[in-house]
Symmetry: C2
DNA sequence: GTCTTTGGCTAATGGTCATTAGCCAAGGAG
DNA sequence: CTCCTTGGCTAATGACCATTAGCCAAAGAC
């Protein structure tokens, strides 16, 4: 039974994502992607304009989702510590749950060409500014204690990115366990009141 | 004036490193590397056996240096917090000071072929185990308070890796400032006694 | 039943790339 | 001075790759 065009396109996108994560964009060929969905490489061009369009769609989608999740996470509270915890948890949960998207989103920016690249970089800058603003607001409120809000926000962001590289929901770590623990780490990094390990 | 063979080889290695960091191993050509050192691509083969050898040398060297620096950092004290701080500081300083090596070392493992790849992965596993052991030792001594030593050690490692991606010694952050702050973050993540932001 | 559209095929296009082969100028050794 | 080695050159080898062109079977529309 043939697949609908939009589900076929989604299959191709999923196959490309898996191969880009495993081998890298440059080392993945259209023939590889085609083989993964049961067609020849040149047939992909009936569904996608180019190999670059595949990468652009994956990376833009990832960054758009992260920004939206961040906004949603911090929207319903004004407490600085709660906002940071929720933002960090959303960040880590996304990296655990969509680890291939997060991994490719982090790793393949060098292969993304204009204008997609600057669009993704702009979204990334917005996202990073969101974390920095959260840390600064906490310091201003007297709730966080850290010498450098800039370094703290970078550190918190990097924690999530690391998760996409190693996390497997294999029992040793559950998604919820990692999300909770990393939310805690974010508050520790920020030096939030009442967070000190016990 | 011609350069000595070993300094020529070092120039090629440095050029390759810079290009691998900027564009990625796969997207960098031998012609690119040759142009950077003032010769044609095929001439590189008088100094290196292959493009892969260049990558392997960079990545193995980086991992070997990190393991050695770690050993040195923890060798002269037995206090758990001091050991973790020193290990984290060595880790971050390396990533700040050798950010291209660290960046390529983190990002290009997918392009490294056997047997180099398993050698680098083994060194990486040893290095990661070193951090995990430090965190566990601190918990055993009652000095650290963290639910998951495994997650804490991953988090600490990821902090340094992030540094290689964004750090510039540009005044806004100095190497010493970042090293100190990140050493502090490592202790906070581990929930070290006496570290709570103020 | 006929015409149109869709989507997968193969062959081809235009180009790229790692690496080897062989040449030769320059420098060093004896 | 002669011979050998080194290191950079160009041309070539063998293979690969993104993408396009054109064909055609199958399915859908009327």
């Amino acid at each position: 039974m043939s697949r609908s065009p939009s589900s076929r396109r989604e299959d191709i996108r999923a196959a490309a994502l898996e191969l880009f994560a495993r081998s890298g964009y440059e080392a993945t060929t259209m023939a590889d992607i085609g083989a993964a969905v049961g067609m020849r490489g040149p047939s992909l061009y009936k569904h996608f304009a180019s190999k670059q369009e595949l990468l652009a769609e994956i990376m833009t989608g990832t960054m758009t989702d992260l920004v939206a999740l961040h906004r949603g996470a911090v929207a319903t509270t004004t407490d600085p510590a709660e906002r940071l915890r929720r933002a960090a948890e959303a960040h880590v949960r996304y990296h655990a749950r969509h680890r291939l998207e997060a991994f490719v989103g982090n790793r393949e920016i060098r292969s993304l060409v204009q204008p997609h690249r600057e669009r993704v970089l702009a979204l990334r800058a917005e996202y990073e500014a969101g974390f920095r603003d959260l840390v600064k607001a906490g310091i201003t409120a007297g709730r966080f204690h850290v010498a450098s809000p800039r370094l703290a926000s970078y550190a918190i962001l990097d924690l999530g990115m690391g998760v996409s590289a190693w996390f497997r929901d294999d029992g040793e770590s559950t998604e919820d366990g990692v999300v909770w623990q990393y939310g805690e780490f974010a508050l520790r990094i920020a030096g939030a009141d009442g967070i000190a390990g016990y």
